[in-house]
Amino acid sequence: MNARTRRGVAFVSGIAAIALLVGLTPPASVREPWQAFVLDLTRTAAPLLFSALSITVAFRAGLFCIGAEGQLWVGALGATAVATHSVPGVLPLALVLGSCAGALLSSIAGELRERRAVPELLSTLLLNFIVAQWVASMVERGPLRESSGQLTQSDPIVDAARLDGVLGVVALSFLLALVAAWGVEFLLTKTAFGLRVRAAGASEPAARLAGFPIARDRRLVFLIAGALAGLGGAIELLARTQRLLPEPFDGEGYLGIAVALVARLRPWRVVVAAIGFALIETAVKVAQTDPDLALPDGFERVVEAALVIGFLVFDAPRIRTWFARVRARPQAERSA
């Protein structure tokens, strides 16, 4: 089987799997446990997928942005600002505002890098902390505090802005994330911009010699990465929590980095990795609600970190060359 047929088979079977899942439309009232599990799984995977795609775009361009977390937060904030009011076209407006908020936040880091040579690693990290306080203040004292003023959260979003649809047993938010994954794949592999970006990420001097407009492309990458994570934040808010809480996310943006790296920065593999991470997260959550096991609070973080570190070790350059040598040895013996 050559690469092309393999890709074709993978594509067709992927579509078939999705169609199968979508087609298994259960009545809303009667849901099998596995159907609820798949729904929960896809819901959990969606924000991870968005943040991992954002990271993928940035890392492929050679930018070490770790700002997906903050961008998710402002995306949710931007979406809430619109979605709590019943205005015409509230849903698309909320999504657009969420993405714009993410893009704007990311472009702060972009401008700081291009103009003042501030490392994006640090600026995005700092922006995450600043945004966390900003979002919390908006619902505690700011204009987004719920109108009854009792709890530190925003008003619920209006019904027209809800995005909690389910196609079969797959959450709509996850399908939107799949579309985004396709978009990123297309952008990176099928456009001139994608080629320039990947070239700049692989070797900046080479891209410079080729006369690519590196600074302009990078600014655009910052915007796209921010918009992706911002969109993810907006979708998660409209689909799941449906009102802004003081801490709308719990490290999904950071976990997205691990997801993207596990997938070696390939958008379709990112989809698989996001589902894998969501699977672990859902399983741990199920285990944590089990009173017999009595798992302590920070358990899921330990599992998560141990898994990622385990993968990092497995994927480390020196371990990889060792594997390659072990695999090559029997062949060498055979030929001898």
Binding site: A117, V118, L122, S123, I130, S137, Y254, F299, R301, V313
Partner: protein, 290 residues
């Protein structure tokens, strides 16, 4: 503000700056060697928890400090083994170190409380930690600062370490053991970060709180990157962050300022300082070697 109040403020700022300065000092050496440990925050948290747990389990204070330093050393060596030895992605390794520390200390905290409560009752488990005098740690930090300020520019090992950071290939060609030096620097950084966590525990609420470092490790990291290779600037930044923390407490008690605005202030200040600091940042310090 009267002279007394001013003095009290300065002293408080000095104490508040110590954990950041201590962790920053370690990270400065790491940064000079050409590595960067994003996991300072997690190491600090692990140090704070270890100091708490060991004290609760009846270990004498000086032994606690030694063990905490040992744990930090082990974390640093582990991180060095991952990133320098095996060549794992350092930023993600550091972030995962933070996640691991956050989770593991929460799990461990529950376990320690359970053990101590079973043995001595609730009061013993939740009481304040009897630690070292924070003044001793200020003095120790000052001494360490002087040692680093002398060793890095004036000794052979300091020169080799800086050579690793400046141009690893050239250093390697000149016979410097780059990987070994970087791992040693990371071990020292881990040691100091863990001790900084212990200092935070002693000078702070008197008991361990989940996630009690509250981004101070990241501030230490930011102080080092902002300093652009100058030790004096690390000190200035750390002191400024300390002053800001104390100012936060004062302003909060007055209630005129938004609590969140004050909590965000150190990060905003750092970002502005990064943007305004003269001279270009050396990209090398954050670049990942593949």
């Amino acid at each position: 503000m009267s002279a007394d109040a001013m003095l009290a403020f300065l002293v408080a700022a000095l104490f508040a700056a110590m954990p950041i300065l201590l962790a920053g000092l370690g990270e400065y050496v790491v940064e000079r060697s050409g590595a960067l440990n994003v996991g300072v925050e997690g190491t600090m948290l692990a140090g704070a928890f270890a100091a708490f747990a060991l004290e609760r389990l009846g270990v004498p204070p000086l032994a606690v400090l030694a063990l905490v330093a040992g744990i930090g050393f082990a974390i640093g060596v582990g991180f060095g083994g991952l990133t320098v030895g095996l060549g794992c992605e350092p930023v993600v390794s550091g972030l995962m170190l933070n996640t691991l520390a956050l989770g593991a200390t929460a799990v461990g905290f529950d376990a320690v409380l359970e053990v101590v409560t079973a043995r001595e009752g609730v009061l013993a488990a939740s009481g304040a930690v009897a630690g070292l005098d924070p003044r001793a740690i200020v003095v120790a930090t000052a001494v360490l600062l002087v040692v680093v300020a002398i060793v890095l520019p004036c000794t052979r090992v300091g020169l080799e370490l800086r050579a690793c950071g400046h141009d690893a290939e050239a250093a390697r060609a000149a016979g410097v053991r780059v990987d070994g030096l970087r791992t040693s620097a990371l071990a020292l950084g881990g040691c100091l970060a863990a001790l900084a966590g212990a200092q935070l525990l002693y000078s702070g609420p008197g008991t361990f709180v989940e996630g009690m470092t509250e981004g101070r490790g990241f501030l230490a990291l930011a102080a080092v990157v902002c300093a652009r290779g100058q030790l004096l600037r690390v000190v200035v930044f750390a002191l400024a962050f300390g002053a800001l923390t104390v100012f936060q407490f004062h302003a909060q008690s007055l209630g005129t300022w938004s609590h969140h605005l004050l909590l965000a202030a150190p990060y905003v200040v750092t970002l502005v300082a990064l943007a305004l600091a003269p001279g270009r940042v050396e990209r090398r310090s954050t670049r990942v070697e593949r």
